[in-house]
């Protein structure tokens, strides 16, 4: 059960936390478990500008390649370059060492509230897991 103060999440399983006016983003623990062993990441360039839910990074796991979407519109201020050497940190520490980018949001007032809270996200992934149980 995810319990992090102030976190917001997307239906594509990215998380964001606002810290000192910047949006820190990564992927959720649920997402990293679905992907399995992560072996590489392609990061955006600092200074890139993305619209909300535009693809900004690519993660390769042993089994699959996945686009990572930008949860808010804005400009990339910093990227976690250590992930290039340690992509496994996204598996091991998705909310801390595994952060992916820091973004200066450009339209946070309108966009922030459309993201899911902790509780909403837990319910959302609960539904996904129930559906899988029924199918499996």
């Amino acid at each position: 059960m995810l319990m992090i103060e102030g976190i917001r999440l997307t239906k594509e399983h990215e998380w964001i936390i606002i810290k000192e006016g910047l949006a820190v983003m990564g992927i959720s623990d649920f997402a990293q478990r679905q992907l399995g062993d992560i072996v590489s990441i392609e990061l955006p360039k600092v200074g890139s500008i993305f619209r909300k839910m535009q693809a900004m990074a690519i993660i390769d796991s042993v089994k699959a390649s996945s686009d990572i979407y930008c949860a808010l519109s804005g400009e990339v201020i910093e990227v976690n370059e250590e992930l290039l050497e340690h992509p496994e940190w996204i598996n091991q520490s998705p909310y801390d060492l595994g952060w992916i980018v820091k973004l200066k949001p450009s339209n946070i007032e309108e966009e922030f509230n459309s993201l899911m809270t902790n509780e909403q996200y837990n319910e959302f992934i609960g539904e996904i897991e129930n559906k899988k149980e029924e199918e499996g």
Binding site: D37, D60, V62, K63, S65
Partner: protein
């Protein structure tokens, strides 16, 4: 469909995926890379009961199989096995098989899960007086793979000297008091055994896990099976082989015995003009190429990727792709991954890993 070990997989924390209609473990809780490395250094147990198993019997069984496949079964003694493609008249590969000769009138043929129905239809169609029976449901199949697999197995096959069981040899023996057939075969590039037994005797799984605990045995799923076979340069039907590919275009030239009197596909293969070849490659950037990605040279499409993954042993992005027949090792190529081009290098063979 489920193998007899489905509930056991769940109890070991397996992530289950659908593989050609079979609910199979992709990985267990430790993950693909750890399962892969454990197979390279210790020993792993794989459930491969989804693979098709046919019994081919009768006085004409030997001659019949000799015309059915491209490799030469006259090289076999009783209790030996052989790998071979099986082709259509036009040389396209129907499937790749392992043929286990019990004796000249009784064979076991192991085929890919994805090909069971078409193989059976093809084999029965040409069978004349030979009896072909699909015994997949009756027989379970486990693969014990890794450098310590003999250490595990020799504790249970009393009175059998496994040193005398050479690669592709088989024995019929007892383990844990249960009759089984054991062959020194596998799909990982490591030493290992495949164990065939009555599908009701599922306790064998737990007993092997218990017996192997001091050798750090762990279950491993289809994910590790795929990365292991890729490193070892082994073909996967549906990825690297299919009906539009002949064995002369892939590193299976050694399995086509054109000097054999007659076999299905011989005429086409003898006259085939081979224009492309399957090679190994390494992506020089940090991306993984996948099945179907285009291969380019100077902006021109020259082939496509048939398999690609991360190599846990080499810690590199590797794969197999088709290139023109005149391509040389170390040639630089580009691979289109998701609309972007990445540089890659042709390897000297499809085998990236060879055990010591």
């Amino acid at each position: 469909m489920k193998t007899p070990f489905y509930d056991i997989h769940k109890s070991f924390g397996a992530k289950i995926v659908n593989f050609h209609g079979w609910e199979m473990p992709l990985q267990y809780s430790s993950g693909i890379i750890e399962e892969h490395m454990n197979t390279r250094t210790n020993v792993s147990l794989f459930d491969v009961s989804h693979m098709g198993r046919f019994e081919v019997k009768g006085p004409g069984a030997y001659d019949y199989l000799q015309t059915l496949v491209t490799n030469d079964i006259s090289k076999l003694n009783d209790h030996q096995a052989l790998y071979s493609p099986m082709c259509y008249d036009n040389g396209g590969i129907i499937d790749d098989l392992i043929i286990y000769m019990i004796n000249r009138e009784k064979f076991l043929v192991v085929v890919n899960a994805s090909c069971v129905e078409k193989d059976l239809e093809w084999i029965v169609k040409h069978s004349n007086s030979v009896v072909v029976e699909n015994i997949s449901d009756k027989i379970a199949l486990l693969a014990l793979q890794g450098p310590l697999s003999q250490n595990v197995l020799e504790k249970t096959v009393a009175g059998t000297n496994l040193d005398q069981l050479k690669p592709f040899d088989l024995i019929i023996t007892n383990i844990f008091g249960i009759e089984c057939m054991i062959s020194r075969t596998g799909y990982t590039g490591e030493d290992g055994f495949e164990i065939f037994f009555d599908s009701s005797k599922i306790d064998i799984w737990d007993k092997l896990i218990q017996l192997g605990s001091r050798f750090n045995i762990k279950p491993a799923g289809l994910g590790a099976r795929d990365t292991l076979r890729l490193e070892a340069g082994l073909m996967l039907y549906g990825n690297d082989l299919n009906e539009n590919i002949t064995p002369l275009e892939v590193p299976l030239r050694w399995t086509v015995k054109l000097e054999k009197k007659e076999f299905i596909g011989k005429k086409a293969l003898i006259t085939q003009q081979v224009n492309r070849k399957l090679v190994g490659f390494e992506v020089l950037e940090k991306r993984i190429a996948r099945h179907g990605n285009e291969v380019l040279l100077d902006g021109q499409k020259i082939g496509f990727v048939t398999s690609g993954s991360f190599s846990p042993t080499l810690k590199k992005s590797i794969g197999f792709c088709f290139v023109p027949i005149d391509s040389l090792p170390n040639q630089l190529i580009e691979i289109d991954i998701g609309g972007k081009l990445y540089e890659a290098k042709v390897s000297s063979s499809t085998r990236f890993y060879k055990r010591k």
